[in-house]
Amino acid sequence: MQVEEVKTAPIDMRFPGANQARHCYTRYLEYHKCIEAKGKGVPECEKFARYYRSLCPLEWIERWNEQRELGIFPGPV
């Protein structure tokens, strides 16, 4: 794992308040929509992946991944 020059998810003015749950969720959706549109491994999509991994707790990501696999994910993915 590279520790030195890593950037984290930037401040997104769509979510100016203290609660960043929507921010995390939106980045997750953006990543998966990007994957659907462009396919896996594309650098633009990897950017969204890094953002949602920085923001979202691991628990949430695992739960959403599970839901997607079972087809019960409540979002537009």
Partner: protein, 349 residues
């Protein structure tokens, strides 16, 4: 005009020279406190922010030392002989004044600031305290004089002044100006919190559980699974080493780089908790289902202690927070040498 004259005479009797003297005394007390704080902040060596576990603090000097503590103190003094003389003098000064980034027994004031936010809070406190002392001394002096002089034997025929338009206007306007002077620095600080200046360099997630904390550093992930995660449990009293603080130490500390903008995302996995570190001026509730974002810039290296600040069950008092700020150069090596093996340990377990 006559009424005004009578009113002013009565007012003069209540608020005499003594009253002004007391007010000046109050002002000078506050002024000295501000001066002392300013002096301390100008001398950076004193604000080295060493933690309780590395040095004997003021609190330790109060109780007589036990044999084991004397032994440890001798050992420490021996070690410090190797240091250059300047450092010894500074450390001695540090010991006598002993600012610690943790709560001390019977502490009255705030802990030392390590972020601009906390420094702003302390400065605001000083601003408000000045007006507070003014009003306190003034009102209590008038009250005491009124009670003292209007004794039924000393003053059998009391004054019966009921109205006095001018003085009533003055005593309404003047107290409403004071809150304006308080509001100016207060709003300045409040709105400066929301100012977005710089994107954070690092995001750290602090997740509260019953009754421990999990920290995730996920900026380095290349997949969903790999995450630098570790749990932070309090060290029970029986396992404490000499010099450590009861109810404040943890096994794995949150290591952060100093002089770097950090984004801390606070959430909870079960019930409400709160991530609070007084030295850093941060207190952020951990609400399940919410990712509360708080932004800090730790200005000096050191170890900062805090405790859970939202009741969360039986061991609410036993899930503290310890933030260790290291230099940016050391941060990389700390993460790879310490935190990654910690994560692997947990992954294997």
């Amino acid at each position: 005009m006559r009424e005004l004259g009578i009113l002013l005479t009565e007012f003069g009797r209540l608020a005499g020279l003594r009253e002004i003297g007391l007010m000046l005394l109050g002002i000078s007390v506050v002024y000295l406190e501000c001066l002392l704080t300013a002096l301390l902040s100008v001398m950076p060596e004193l604000m080295s922010g060493e933690c309780l576990s590395d040095h004997l603090c003021l609190c330790k000097e109060r109780a007589p030392l036990r044999e084991s503590e004397i032994e440890w103190k001798n050992h420490w003094e021996e070690q410090s002989k190797n240091e250059p003389k300047q450092m010894i003098v500074l450390e001695w000064l540090f010991l006598t004044i002993a600012p610690c980034d943790a709560a001390e027994p019977w502490q009255l004031g705030s802990q030392d600031a390590a972020t601009p936010m906390m420094q702003g809070i302390i400065d605001l406190h000083h601003d408000i305290f000045f007006f507070l002392i003014l009003i306190l001394v003034f009102v209590s002096r008038i009250l005491v004089r009124a009670l003292w002089h209007f004794h039924y034997k000393k003053n059998p025929i009391p004054q019966r002044i009921v109205h006095g338009t001018t003085i009533e206007i003055l005593r309404t306007i003047f107290p409403s100006i004071i809150p304006m002077f308080i509001a100016i620095p207060s709003f300045a600080l409040l709105y400066s919190m929301d100012e977005v200046v710089v994107d954070p360099a690092i995001t750290i997630k602090a997740i509260g559980h019953q009754w421990y904390r999990t920290y995730e550093y996920s900026d380095y992930n290349s997949s969903d699974e790999q995450s630098l995660t570790f749990d932070s449990y309090t060290i029970p009293e029986d396992d404490l080493e000499l010099g450590q603080s009861r109810l404040l130490e943890v096994d794995n500390r949150v290591v952060v780089p100093a002089q770097t903008h950090l984004r801390i995302i606070v959430t909870s996995a079960d019930v409400l908790h709160s991530w609070a570190v007084p030295s850093l001026g941060v207190k952020c509730d951990a609400v399940p289902g919410r990712l509360n974002q708080t932004s800090i810039l730790v200005q000096r290296e050191g170890v900062y202690y805090g405790q859970c600040s939202e009741i969360c069950g039986t061991n609410h008092a036993f899930m503290p927070i310890v933030v260790e700020a290291v230099s940016r150069k050391d941060y990389g090596s700390r993460v790879s040498n310490q935190l990654i093996p910690q994560t692997n340990q947990i992954a294997e377990a």
